[in-house]
Symmetry: C2
Subunit: 223 residues, 2 copies
């Protein structure tokens, strides 16, 4: 993989490659985001943009009744740099997503504005944690609430009972990402994951990457 990256990096600017190196070194899978059934495309797009800005590589999208759509004016191309997992077409996509996350070792934290929940500052993030967010008006499904390990809320001081969903995601994830980056938790990707991401991003940064890869594989055929 290293050889291939070395060959391909000649086709992009040094500045771009440095950016790829720096950003991949700062990516995390230690925390991840799962969103259930958002139906306003500007909200979904703002969530992806926030994840990319914060360095959260994986986003899980549960599509029960609404298909994931991107509003390009809001997402600003952020989806290009993320690993997006979509769950749809099954009888229970919420269960499929959350079971997948549990199997990967994530603790599931449901985000709900209810009195008894833990404040976001106090959520323990020492183990891999997936934050699960519900739909705009109805919040999380009963399925998601049942499967959650913990519940978290964001401070509020007004009459309005919740933040806008894309704002909730941003406030929650900024809080945990800032705490993570200041901690001695091993939150970065593994070396292999970083190399795989660099290769993917270098490829995405080259216009005629398919032609170049074809020539590369022809030149590197074992003789």
């Amino acid at each position: 993989m290293n050889d291939l990256i070395a060959s391909l990096k000649e086709y992009i600017s040094e500045e771009r490659f440095k950016k790829i190196e720096m950003i991949s070194a700062n990516r995390t899978n230690h925390v991840t985001i799962a969103v259930e059934n958002l139906y306003q495309s500007h909200n979904m797009s703002a969530v992806l943009r926030t994840a990319e800005c914060l360095g959260i590589q994986n986003v899980h999208i549960i599509e029960n009744s609404f298909q994931y759509q991107i509003n390009k004016e809001v997402s600003m191309g952020s989806d290009k740099w993320l690993t997006i997992h979509r769950y749809n077409g099954k009888p229970d996509n919420t269960q499929a997503c959350l079971q997948h996350l549990k199997q990967q070792g994530y603790k599931l934290v449901a985000t709900m504005p209810s009195e008894k929940d833990t404040m976001i500052d106090d959520i323990d993030i020492s183990m891999p944690t997936a934050f699960v967010f519900g739909t705009e008006l109805l919040g999380l499904s009963q399925e998601a609430i049942t499967m959650a390990d913990e519940f978290v809320k964001i401070p509020m001081y007004g009459f309005t009972e919740s933040y806008n969903i894309s704002v909730s995601v941003a406030l929650t994830m900024m809080n945990v990402c800032q705490r993570l980056r200041k901690s001695d938790i091993n939150w970065r990707l593994s070396d292999n994951e970083i190399m795989a991401l660099r290769l993917e991003w270098v490829k995405k940064s080259i216009k005629d990457v398919d032609g170049i890869l074809k020539r590369y594989s022809e030149q590197n055929v074992p003789k």
Copy 2:
């Protein structure tokens, strides 16, 4: 004013009055938000909802080319509990707004994702501070940049160059509000401001308030 509140509170539930007391005691004008020329109604609505949730009473809306519109599904009625100042119809509404804020003693902090700016954690909020946010794609106007006293940015770790505008407002204001509430800065409203707000909110909580006020003033005519 106290007598009038005492008379009117009989028309609302005790629970509602307690909420009004608690929320007004937690309101602040020490920090405020000015937004310039937002054109997506869901962004403006999310900004108002965030301000209300965070307890920021005053929001300043500069309408240079776009009129302020509310998306009720996003704002969730939050605008009812805020004091909204609109600047429009003048040759330079940005200047009108920012001069008004300066005259009120606010330091102007422009929010921009540029390298040389101060990180949000490091912005001094000991004096009254107004945070000025620009339009979705173009950011702040030259006028606003020229009038700003300081510049602030939010941490970012990805390729995308900025957060969505309603997310920027939320991340910035949550940061300063949390620091404010933990500090010994005198961030609350004055007693008079709190009483005026309580009266306004009690009135807004009563259906036939006009009829009740008419009867009240007839009964209280000096004899």
